[in-house]
Symmetry: C2
Subunit: 353 residues, 2 copies
């Protein structure tokens, strides 16, 4: 790190849109992984996907405009929209957490929706949109001429030998689709605070202009590290190892969860979360440390697991589903096995009361 203090161009202001060599590399990454070519001027480096979204919605929205958000959703989506004085419109999923495309069409037709926002693979559900689903979404988006913001940060974590599909590759949607992605998940480096946005040149131009006032772009030493990461064979192998580990953990954990009475968990097809339905435990009571508790929400269920199973989940409410809880699979197999055993015992005790 001392070298950073001694001099060199990474100290000085860089281009607000991000290092051109990095954007050239990302242009190749997008072509390889999604199958479409976005030129460097159609790509901007942002302070994580979060800042990409924050700036993007401010560029695309006028105050008071509606943004459709596929439920369940990453917690930041509605916040980004609200901070930009937009209005989040939640688009409910099917029972199995897949996008409900009929509802989607109805809502888009009923409300004046300006943009649609989702992640696939989905955080928190692990659902990976199929080519058919994406084509249906693309069709509606094209008909109604709305923006589609596709968060593909978990693209490298798709299981069962399936291929990640992106809406950007669907013909005719180039003027409407915007990709957000970054190195945080695939290389395990969220602390670098880097992401990127790819889309129509005019959108990237607007985003860059606003980024010039909002933060002048991202940290250059981190951008340099990002170049190294995206061109490293070793980093690529590490990502692949992570995917294999998450997939094994998914197999063990989700099978185990579904063996527990009254728990049901759809099988995640990607990302690294399990998102079981725990609505059957609402109303249950338990004791801890001499006090009595009733489970009335996903937060209460999270606290129950923390207290009685020493397992940390995240309540489903901020993801738009208070009937669910999210567990991370990004850990060692032994932790997965132990957590499963603890959850199973805690729930057995809960049900027996």
């Amino acid at each position: 790190m001392a070298a950073l203090l001694e001099g060199g161009k990474l100290h000085k202001y860089g281009p607000v849109q991000g290092d051109p060599e990095l954007r050239e590399i990302l242009s190749g990454v997008i072509a390889e992984e999604i199958g479409v070519r976005y030129a460097p001027p159609e790509i901007a480096i942002t302070v994580g996907v979060k800042s990409g979204l924050d700036i993007l919605v401010r560029v695309l929205l006028e105050p008071g405009e509606n943004v459709g958000i596929m439920t369940p959703f990453w917690v930041t989506y509605p916040e980004s929209v609200k901070i930009a004085h937009g209005i989040p419109c939640f688009l409910e999923a099917d029972e199995d957490l897949r996008p409900n495309l009929e509802k989607l069409r109805r809502e888009i037709e009923a409300k004046n929706i300006k943009a649609l926002l989702y992640s696939s693979p989905c955080n928190p559900s692990g659902v990976v949109y199929t080519r058919d689903e994406l084509e249906e979404i693309a069709k509606v988006a094209k008909e109604k001429d709305i923006w589609v913001i596709s968060d593909e940060i978990y693209a490298k974590f798709v299981f069962d030998g399936r291929k990640h599909e992106s809406i950007l590759s669907i013909g005719g949607l180039r003027d409407n689709a915007i990709l957000v992605d970054g190195p945080s998940k695939r290389f395990g480096v969220p602390g670098w605070r880097l992401g990127y946005v790819a889309g129509p040149r005019e959108v990237i131009k607007g985003l860059t202009k606003l980024q010039g006032h909002v933060n002048s772009g991202t940290s250059r030493p981190a951008q340099y590290a990002m170049r190294v990461a995206y061109t490293s064979q070793k980093a690529r192998e590490a990502t692949d190892n992570m995917r294999q580990r998450y997939e094994r953990n998914r197999d063990i954990f989700v099978r185990g969860l579904n063996e527990i009475d009254d728990v049901s968990c759809t099988r995640p097809e990607g990302a690294f979360y399990a998102f079981p339905n725990i609505k059957n435990f609402l109303g249950y009571k338990y004791e801890f440390d001499g006090r009595k508790y009733t489970i009335n929400s996903s937060v209460d269920f999270r606290n129950f697991l923390l207290r009685k199973a020493q397992v940390a989940g995240v309540e489903g409410a901020p993801f738009g589903m208070d009937s669910h809880i999210r567990f991370s699979l990004a850990t060692e197999e032994e932790n997965i096995v132990k957590a499963l055993s603890n959850i199973s015992h805690a729930i057995k005790e809960l049900r027996s009361r």
Copy 2:
């Protein structure tokens, strides 16, 4: 940089408010330089001063509220305010570019101003607010209970043996004053994209909450480098050398500018810019490359200097004064001498036509 890829905690998410050890160091820096103690919870690390301002104004303002901006101003101030759907109110300076405190009071009384924004040392004018001026501003701010956002990014560059004074050190203003600063100028590292905000605990709490949604905080490797810089004796000496160099350049350049007929430049007391008045050249005509040009604005004068003197200035218009032009003093003495000679010749030719 390879070490960043191998593992270690700088890869993971850090606290949104910034590294606690860094905030502890900055608490000491503020105490030493300004003479008041801000505890680590009263400090947040931001993606440069720009993102600090962007988030701060979104925390402090409701859409449609007024922000007083001392003219001339850093180009980003009005943009930050407008992006947050606030309304910039420009507070004109005196002839000598010093804050006009009577006008300030009148404007604040006439309009419902929510916050006041300025830099001292000032970019672009080099004016350094005196203790008396700050006390007068503090008095009005306290009476009207408005926020004062004090941008002190050039604090280490105050000339003629004077001491930098901060409004944060004025008794009774602790609940109203907010500091923005960072390592970019003092260590010459704007490419790291780091800054910090210090102020009332509730403001920093609000800023941190919003930062959690807007960008999750700043790049951790850069924060680590910032810790090193702020505790390095070598970096401190480098800053002092820069100040001496800028002061020498100021002496040569500003004396030289004032010797040119029809140019007048107030003597910068800090920062590293000269901001001469060039209104006497409006209406002048010149030829370049077979074409005829007339100077009707600061942009035209900038282009005249680029073409006829090979000197790059920045037009005063985006700083709020179309009668002026900004030159940077952050260069080698020989460039200063050469620029002066070129400007002098170009203007002599212009006036002789």
